[in-house]
């Protein structure tokens, strides 16, 4: 039996209209419309496009959750095995739409998703981790090349064949690390690599060292005596008993705790949930990680305006950078809304 595929396209390729129809609400068409016809043909009977979703780019970008939910419902209704979107070429909003729909459906439905766009389309950087993106030309003239490449990769994914490197398979590197078993143990691979490096011969590192994000420094606080300061920590300080069950390692959440009226963290009221360092000292006196006692003194002495009544805490032990980034953004937003002027972030 052929695999069943849903194809997401925009209003232009769906024949609804151009820019003036970019607010077109998503509609589901049975069978193939626009580029879905070419895709259907390229799948050569091994898979078939069972439905085409046509949606205006502006509508999709402005209503990402709603559109993703509709696509998810359609996937279920049609018992689809995969989702394809685009190609979006160099259309920025279409690229965003294809990326967001593919990433959301991959996560929600656990089915393979494939899209295609011009490598410099902003959708690539945003969504490459969440889906497979075939590099396409910057305009619809590249349709003839993109569609067969999308079909080939899609069929491999549907057959659950092990993928080679992105270069070999012809998709844009997702930057996602996948475990595999090599022929040799790591120790032998290390010595093999050392011999190549010593001989000045080419070798391939198994991991390229990361490059981290940078942010522009914010201006300093001019009126400290009037400023509200918040405490945030990756050292895992939580109320005794760890009420939110923050994990000792690879945390899956952060906690928000009220310290109104708390002047000192003691061994009977606070502890650390962090499993990556010797907990003895933080459990004896959590101020060693989260300096509430000193900030209360400074507040009393009017050296600062006040200590924010909530602190935020997670465990930075093996926790994914992507999670930390997301929580950082959330915490930052909350602190901004609470009119906090500056943050002391402590790490262990």
């Amino acid at each position: 039996m052929a695999y069943r595929v849903i194809h997401y396209i925009n209003q232009f390729f769906g024949g609804v209209g151009g820019e003036e129809m970019a607010d077109h609400k998503p509609e589901v068409r049975v069978g193939q419309a626009g580029p879905a016809m070419a895709l259907h043909a390229a799948l050569k009977g091994e898979a078939e496009v069972v439905a085409t979703i046509v949606c205006g780019d502006n509508y999709c970008v402005a209503n990402q959750k709603e559109v993703a939910a509709l696509v998810a419902t359609t996937v279920k209704k049609y018992k689809a095995d995969a989702l394809v979107a685009g190609p979006a070429f160099n259309a920025g909003r279409y690229g965003m739409a294809c990326g967001t729909v593919c990433a959301a459906i991959g996560e929600a439905c656990g089915i393979p998703t494939v899209t295609a766009m011009f490598p410099e389309n902003p959708g690539v950087e945003l969504y490459k981790a969440g889906t497979y993106i075939i590099p396409a030309a910057d305009s619809a003239r590249g349709m003839g090349q993109a569609i067969p490449a999308m079909a080939a990769l899609l069929l491999k994914l549907l057959r659950k064949e092990a993928l080679q490197s992105p270069e070999a398979e012809g998709y844009i590197e997702r930057g996602v690390r996948v475990n595999m078993f090599y022929e040799k143990p790591g120790a032998e691979r290390a010595v093999d690599m050392l011999l190549l490096k010593l001989a000045g011969k080419p070798f391939t590192t198994e991991y390229k060292m990361p490059v981290f994000d940078r942010v522009t420094p914010r201006p300093g606080i001019t009126n400290m005596a009037g400023a509200t300061i918040a405490l945030v920590t990756s050292g895992g300080i939580v109320p005794k008993g760890n009420p939110d069950h923050i994990a000792a390692s690879s945390a899956r959440s952060y906690g928000e705790y009220d310290i109104a009226g708390v002047n000192d963290l003691t061994d009977t009221t606070y502890q650390t949930a962090h499993g990556g360092y010797d907990q003895t000292f933080a459990n004896q006196d959590a101020d060693r990680v989260l300096p509430v006692d000193v900030l209360r003194d400074l507040e009393r002495e009017k050296k600062i305006g006040k200590l924010h009544h909530l602190f935020y805490s997670t465990v930075g032990n093996g926790t994914a950078v992507a999670s930390a980034k997301k929580w950082g953004e959330e915490i930052g937003q909350k602190l901004k809304e609470a009119n906090v002027q500056a943050v002391i972030l402590t790490s262990t």
């Binding site: 420094p217 606080i221 101020d287 990680v289 300096p291 790490s347």
Partner: protein
């Protein structure tokens, strides 16, 4: 809003991109030292927090270790 990162392993803080960095005591007790008396320890902590406030009050143009 400005953020000051108080951490013991400054190279990591620099690698991950903190702009205002206060080097602290040690990983299990960044703002303490269990070998000191409670009063001395609190004094140490206060010194570090005051340094952090100073960092928050300073304008910086690049990653700075205070």
């Amino acid at each position: 809003m400005p953020v000051v990162h108080m951490a013991s392993i400054v190279p990591i803080s620099q690698s991950v991109g903190a702009n205002r960095i206060i080097p602290t005591v040690a990983i299990p007790y960044p703002l303490g030292n269990p070998t000191l008396s409670p009063a001395e320890e609190k004094k140490l902590r206060r010194g570090l927090v005051e340094k952090a406030l100073k960092a928050l009050g300073a304008d910086v143009t690049e990653q700075t270790v205070f």
